[in-house]
Amino acid sequence: MLASRERLDLKADPGELATARRFADAAAARFGLGDQERYEFTFAVNEAVSNAMEHGHPSPDGTICIHVAAENGALVFEVEDHGTFAPGPPAIDALPERGRGLAFMAATMDEVDVRRGTSGTVVRLCKRRAAA
């Protein structure tokens, strides 16, 4: 069983992506997703957290906050960063590959929601159990 809501604060460091994946995978296992859905959930979480680390800004204490929760029979993940999304000039060595992340999230999740506010950005992913 998944506790009602679980939270993890990550350093805004790509070295923490593996920690985010372990957290997501453990939650997916406790929630009872099948192997394929579990991998897809972890995959999409990794994309969302990668984007937050690359394009967002951590909170004033330097962390990025992630949550998982069971809601109405679905496993929900949220990542919040405090970026204001005022895009600067693109870095000359920017990896264009990262732009694919959102499309991959959409392909593997039942719902993807990106909310940009004045205080930051919240990406919400939702994965339902596969029909038996």
């Binding site: 790509p14 070295g15 992506l17 593996a18 994946r21 192997d35 394929q36 991998y39 897809e40 972890t42 995959f43 990794n46 994309e47 990668s50 680390m53 690359e54 990896l95 264009p96 590959e97 990262r98 694919r100 992340g101 499309a103 991959f104 392909a107 593997t108």
Partner: protein, 103 residues
Amino acid sequence: MSYILGHSAATPGWYVITVGGECDMNAAPSLSVAVVAAFRHGASTIVVDLNEVTFIDSTAIGILLAARERLRRSGGTFEVVCSVPAVVRVLGIVGVEAVAGVP
């Protein structure tokens, strides 16, 4: 993530990149180095062996797509070998067909 770049003296232009571990954003520079090295040596066929990969993200997949595109334009051959179901499925989202077996 780790990789080995191999080639066959008997088959000029044939390169195999054997990748292992977790291919996330941290691994992308290493994977790029392997692909660039293969092209610098004049690769006309690149086989990427992902059998030992436990995780792959969109950055790594993007690097593979770019290599495939470059080889297609030059009349070369690009192949992914992988039997890890979860990895095969994610690759399939962007139309990368992985072949089972070993290179």
